[in-house]
Assembly symmetry: C2
Homo-oligomer: 348 residues x 2
DNA sequence: CTGAAAGCGCTTACAG
DNA sequence: CTGAAAGCGCTTACAG
């Protein structure tokens, strides 16, 4: 990447891009030879290679990815679709994806769709159009994965799974983690435990719900002991819903929030009502985000390593690209429960 | 985007991608006509257009962006380089960039470089190679912007400015905001105020420092009243540095943290030393992130609208693409000071 | 070991 | 209004 100013190429003064043809001419070889010298595949004598490489450097030659990809019918780009870049969970995921893509020599095309399904499909179409090498997504339906697979594009579903059996996936043991948390709450003596959750139809919500219910049953509690409250995934709206829940006469003594957004909403609702944690209310949740160790008491939570999930998803995609016929694999990662001060014995 | 299963195209069964040539054949027209019908430029009779469009739908035709871009010598992709996707400020920025790119019909290629300069340049090279329509970056040096501009690629610098005068930029009034915060602290009666900052050579750090110093001087305080402490941008390391600062005999009565990471470090250091805020220490900072209204007392801070910065940067880039010869513009956005409970009169 | 030629899938003057 | 042809910048068999 020589930044030569020899040929009158100055700072900020656009110079026309050199093509391989020009490099070849400067080096006194044919286009084919230049290509072989630069890409490293095919025979070239050592001195010719050096001459070509030097010419390329002098001309500040950058290969045209469009042309190369068009010819080769693949690009070194991975398409990524995540739900919401404002949510710390997806951010950590995107961060892991981004770092691992870079390490593997791929660029990342990122699309976040604020939870709008139509945008998910639009992004997928863009990815098909640019012939990405593969797509990693947090799906909102089975449709998008199927659409991409239909074009022969490898897909990895992360966090949630819709195209079970059709493509690879990286998920967390949601059922197990939810079970453990609920069991811990019941073990502390709670008899009215609310699960606050935004959806129960995706694998994430479904499994968290089922782990919750199983733990209630296993603790010998009646099903009514497990109160399930749903809310949109929005702090303000969820806060209102939860405030209502906590104001009931038979309000729960413990809340299990299914993710960090609902945890924040629960925490703010308790604050708003003057309910102290953990004396008047125990709070446990999913996702370990920064504020959870900054408030007092710190929040008991299920820590999902979203960065590691992202990295794993990229590696899984690389494997799939290498071995397209391998059967679909689902990698389930363990999540650890961090017991902190927000959960305690009930006082009523 | 018909998902026809008519032609034996089943779920998950890859079918070969249709080309425009095939669409043309199916519609019984020439390749040129198909192209005009599908792109909408050039003459086509209404019925021919319909026939072509229907053929395209039936074949699930998706235009090949590579081929189109190669021919047209531009892509509908914007390259974005941000420092660190783990930092909420850059995340909000990326979120704004992503949304606005989508609205404008562009895809976003994103690279985060954990603060490593070499990676910034690598990402830039990838962008040149893929002929992105433009690049938006939070630069770490003048080099990358110059490199890109040298290839005639429009560049917008965000947050910080290195290629002043050479390219467009979107920044915040760092000097003004830092001045206002420091002035407020001095106005409360603080006589030993520390600025904790990670760098003072980029425009961000330089301007925040200068606003700080000016306010100290204007308040009639001696320069020693303004203590400047630098630290790496890392919570754990900064916390150690700040803990040492706060343990000094003549420790400051107020800390102004130059960003959210250093604010967290300061907050944790105070916690660690058992210093109560705001009684024993006033804390003000830059960046309004979620935890700042969840801890108690809430933190006084300068709210930068990073999402709006991102959106503005995309719009500015679009303008530049439309009018390449327009003189370079720097857009400076105001930042608002949110006074909250973490700042009060000193008690010593 | 090197070079001429075909071709990836489009767009776009140009001729009809 | 439509079609044949050239060409974007590469890679890759193939012939020498």
């Amino acid at each position: 990447m020589a930044r030569s100013t020899k040929a009158g190429i100055g700072v900020g003064v656009p110079h026309p891009r050199a093509t391989m043809k020009e490099v070849a001419k400067a080096a006194g070889v044919s286009l084919s030879t230049a290509s072989r010298a630069l890409t490293g595949r095919g025979y070239v004598s050592a001195d010719v290679r050096d001459r070509v490489k030097q010419a390329a450097a002098e001309l500040e030659y950058v290969p045209d990815a469009m042309a190369r990809n068009l010819r080769q019918q693949v690009s070194r780009v991975i398409g990524v679709i995540v739900s919401d870049l404002r949510d710390p969970f997806y951010v950590d995921l995107a961060s892991g994806l981004s770092q691992q893509c870079r390490r593997r020599g791929y660029a990342m095309m990122l699309s976040d769709n604020g939870g709008v399904e139509k945008r998910e499909l639009e992004a997928a179409e863009t990815f098909v159009s640019s012939r990405v090498a593969g797509v990693i997504l947090t799906p909102m339906s089975r449709e998008v994965s199927e659409y991409l697979l239909g074009y022969g594009i490898p897909v990895v579903e992360v966090d949630r799974q819709f195209a079970d059996g059709l493509c690879d996936a990286v998920v967390v043991d949601n059922r197990g983690a939810a079970f453990k948390v609920t069991q811990a709450l019941a073990g502390l003596g709670h008899r009215r435990i609310a699960l606050v959750i935004d959806e129960i139809t995706w694998t994430t919500g479904r499994d968290r719900l089922s782990g919750f219910k199983e733990a209630i049953a296993e603790a010998g509690l009646p099903p009514e002991a497990g109160i399930v409250v749903t809310s949109k995934l929005d702090v303000a709206q969820a806060q209102a819903v939860i405030a209502k829940l906590l104001s009931r006469k038979d309000s729960p003594t413990a809340v299990f929030a299914a993710n960090n957004v609902l945890a924040e909403a629960t925490w703010r609702a308790a604050e708003q009502l003057g309910k102290t944690i953990p004396d008047q209310l125990s709070l446990a949740c999913f996702d370990d985000v920064r504020w959870m160790t900054m408030v007092s008491p710190a929040i008991t939570t299920v820590a999902q390593d979203a960065v590691a999930m992202g990295e794993t998803a990229v590696d899984q995609l690389m494997e799939r690209i290498r071995k397209p016929s391998r059967p679909a694999c689902t990698i389930m990662m363990a999540a650890t429960m961090e017991e902190r001060g927000s959960t305690a014995r009930p006082t009523r």
